[in-house]
Symmetry: D2
Subunit: 363 residues, 4 copies
């Protein structure tokens, strides 16, 4: 039942509902000695905030993070880090008509059958707002990883029908991707971003919504990370990415394409280069047998379109009646741009946890 905790050594427990007083997380197991303060975490949360484009709705969420414990004189102490974000922009009255209704494509019916009693306001616990806590924890993980020479960055590769051209991202450095992805679509290509914006505007005009794809690239991971046979690096990334609402598929490296390739095409050959093992290709996405091989790690998450659309939809209510529902309130016509930093956060948390576990591989 306690499904709100993730990780073995770097363990994150998130809490909070969309329309409660606050949300946050406790990080249990953060090593001591990391320089940490609110200013270092806030930029990650700001990347998750709704912007001002057609991609997002008009609500303004401050999402200011506060460190309540675990940091003393600017450095972590090894004790639990409690992070809190107050909810300031909630308008509960928008959700009155949902109190006994199951929205199509949402977790409402599952929560109702599971718990009997649910906070229906804004999706309650199943709201995307919960991911703010993940992003805060992911920021801490990313800061530690940087100390270990590991850097990562997520970005959008597709929104609805608009996809980044194949191989485009691979030619860019992480820094270039960061610099180029500041647009509303979080796509490292202005033309694609512009086209994506148009596609979203069109969908919104039809009271409809779009999905998309987020890719995360992780560089500097030493070979050896991942704990076979069940807690393989790819298995934990799969767990982490599928735990983000709306993700319906996850790929590592070539992913689905690998299933149609031949062994001779798919194997990445090794050669010595400057005294180190290197690979001529990276079909594997940096992971073999569940362990990092020193190559760049590539993971991809596929997001379904936002289920909250403004068209009338057939559904049922708690009384067991067929009804037609027209959703009100403020909903992003596509969650992908705001999910980018969530993907990055979950990858950072996962990688750090396995990095710490790997410290005990040898006597």
């Amino acid at each position: 039942m306690p499904g709100s905790t993730f990780g073995t050594l770097f363990r994150v427990s998130t809490w909070g509902e969309s329309h409660g007083p606050a949300l946050g997380c406790v990080i249990d197991g953060c090593p001591a000695g990391l320089t940490l303060n609110e200013e270092l975490i806030q930029p990650y949360l700001d990347r998750r905030k709704p912007g001002t484009s057609a991609m997002t709705t008009a609500r303004s969420e401050a999402d200011k993070v506060r460190i309540l414990s675990g940091v003393f004189e600017g450095r972590t102490t090894g004790t639990p880090i409690s992070l809190m974000i107050e909810n300031t922009s909630q308008i509960s009255k928008d959700y009155g008509n949902l109190s006994d209704t199951f929205r199509p494509g949402h977790a409402d019916y599952g929560f109702y059958t599971k718990y009997g009693h649910r906070d229906y306001r804004g999706g309650g616990r199943s709201s995307g707002r919960e991911t703010a806590a993940r992003v805060a924890a992911g920021a801490v993980a990313a800061l530690i990883l940087e100390n270990y020479g590991i850097r990562l960055r997520a970005y959008t590769t597709a929104i609805g029908p608009v996809a980044l051209s194949d191989g485009l991202a691979d030619k860019l450095s992480l820094d270039e991707i960061s610099a180029l992805s500041t647009n509303a679509a979080c796509m490292p290509d202005e033309d694609s971003a512009a086209a994506a914006l148009k596609a979203v505007e069109a969908a919104r005009a039809e009271c409809d919504s779009l999905g998309g794809i987020v890719e995360c690239r992780i560089e500097g991971v030493p070979a050896g990370i991942g704990e076979p046979v069940f807690d393989k690096l790819d298995a934990m990334l799969g767990h982490a990415l599928f735990s983000i609402g709306a993700v319906k598929a996850v790929e590592i490296g070539d992913g689905i394409k690998a299933a149609a390739a031949k062994g001779s095409e798919n194997n990445d050959r090794m050669r010595m280069k400057d005294g180190d093992v290197s690979f001529d290709t990276n079909h594997a996405g940096g992971i073999l047998g569940g362990i990092s091989n020193g190559n760049t790690i590539l993971a991809r998450a596929y997001f379904k379109p936002t289920p909250s659309i403004y068209q009338p939809q057939d559904t049922v209510n708690e009384k067991g009646e067929d009804i037609s529902l027209t959703i009100k309130g403020r909903h992003d016509p596509v969650v992908v741009p705001r999910a980018v930093v969530v993907v990055e956060a979950m990858c950072a948390i996962t990688l750090l946890d396995l990095y710490l576990q790997n410290r005990n591989s040898r006597i």
Copy 2:
């Protein structure tokens, strides 16, 4: 580090190497009262055994399971169930040339960098043989699930370029799929199976290998299974399926296609039918917000082609030398048909664990 344990309440720990004396698992947390004996588990293991077609190699593995504990007078007692399978068909000399070599596409290099010391014979711990223990545990899980009215079945939907025609499987009942999938390809369609066999023969003739896709269908799952926000049903299935060697992508329901759909197309509408909630479509694959919705659950795992191919390949060895490697020994040109029951086993273990967890959702 202890990555060989999976599950919270129904907890499976596998052990064993390809060329050690035996392999097996301990199931900690199996409820008492289940009728269990070796004859009920063995058929699952038999489905994993290499057959006699071009799909598999000539080795004969008995894979006889033995129950060492946890069962008394034909029923489980609630104490740990120890299952053991002796290794009887191992020929270690085939692997002599691999003792200090890293095979492309394999876990060799990762294990070497991680542990320093590895059992190189037949892949050791990273061998597909480890999955025999999972299948044995999965059989126990499936038997329990049957008691709860839950049935599941995995089957091949593609091998290399040969795919089951779209929607074909959806028209078949689980019983029909079981009856039709007894061919070497484990495909519920004779024509596809025959075509797949030809494709494998062609790949083998070129000293090459193929990958493919396995789908698992789970029926009878009540709404409410899955533990948000991290141990969602899809997240745990993702974890479980990615933990199988060679899996490079996982989908739930429409999966990747969902990312290109509009919300109006992707939402499954609910209607009351005979007093129960029913869905007109199943794009979600039976899971919304990480919780089962009562609809059929559909998960898909994409397998890369067997990395062991008989062509000479560039690689490096432990001494840091560039070498050309020609792999010997017996290797399946495609792992998919034998992986089908492994996918089924991991889905069964995952679902049972979350089913048991759900018993505590309410006071």
Copy 3:
């Protein structure tokens, strides 16, 4: 490393330092449907507050608990419950001379060697203040247990040289104990409590401190609770009670005396009584083979004297110098009365976790 989390199904993560802005806990896995609000938790925290007797110091801690998540319309929703208590009474300047000093009998040296960097103010994370979060979580656990017909109560049986007369508590009902233990010593006997107060006053006059014993009685526990072989009910109680700072011994039932008894004296005989199994004695303290037997559960925790005493003490500092330390600040001359509700809280959390686990003992 992540040692601030306790429990498997009812999982409590505490956070917070003595002199940080706040402390609290996240309860992950609380079943849905429990009536809960701040007013139901606060009385437990009030029992932990320093009183006005010689037993405690003059500081006033408000210790007002706030529910931040997991409760909607007065009932738990099954999602994580975040509880926060703001620190309002901290005077950090008192601790200046401790910033690089290791107090005898304290965790200072351990924290310093372990983490390198520590919050020395008031003991930081190792302060007794951390137990406020446990008490809040314990209150929730106790409220759930009540729903299952399980009631528990802890009380002082000894302070320094003053012990409750043997068997006195056994003659009282839980309600009587509650009513009689409202004195400053939390002893269910006015004479003993008065004597204890005198002993504490005498110790305080000598700039010294005392320890004592807390007993917890749990009634209404059905037979069958406890998870052999490692998570036995007594093993988990042992874990829970030893996790309270200052506890140096734990007993179940007759405890230490059992080691000197003969089998014929120590075995509790069973007889049928009104259709139920009953025991003529309770040497076992309600637990056999790690499983509850339906008898009253008795656990006892032995607390060492407060290490903070006002006499000059030899010790060393971070620079590796021998020094003489005179501790200032406000310290209780005995922690036992305030630890009573902490013992009760840890017993409640432990029992509930195992109660929930037991729901899955049978198919």
Copy 4:
């Protein structure tokens, strides 16, 4: 429910019943590179075997351990280590009259109420035989700890009324204790051992049984081991020791005596000695605030007398009838000498797990 697993990083899962075909354990998380073979483990198991004195019964258990996985070419590989011990000396017919009876002082009634279905032969899972698997795992842990400069040894300090004279053990080195404890009582003092033997003979003559005390001393533990606030070193030792059947009390350092001491008596003062922190006394038993302080660790477990006595005893059966039971079969009149190495094993497992966790305390 899955209570047969202990540890976070060095994780031991035991399995097996007294009268099943075998018992054993899986160690998941053993670091790679340890020299390991059966000959290194067997001596620990031999210390647990029944001897030939009045202390034990006449049964001969071979208890030969077999390594089934995780070791290659004489060294651990970092993969799960499966250890198996075949049961060879079981005579099930002795237990026929117990099939529906609850023995006083035993787990029978608990197991029956919990699981409904139980292996009654020789106590089944609740038999002391289960500890053979712990001893095998403990041997591996002890071998690793030796690599880290940590040594430990358990020994008997009391059997029934016969106790080692106070402070006697403290004057002996670990090597001296090992050399002196080879007697049937495992007491490091011949006179005490002889007196204990007489006490046991007297109890046996009366068809009665005795309990006793086992102490474990651990040397060479660096300061910093233990994970506050719940997985403190003493809390984990408490968990570990209480998980051994028949243990009714656990002490760390002065234990119970500490509760009656004054702070000025109980605090261990620190001084610099040869550049290191040293303590003038060791009332704390090497643990402060749940973290090792570099001093010798002292833990004590109190065992109740063997519940299986040959006197007729009142009890009830599954049908709910009052009966008189006379136990047959072979039962040790005191379990303490054979439990000594079990205590040592559990301390080794606990300490190693926390030692490995401590590797991640700092960035």
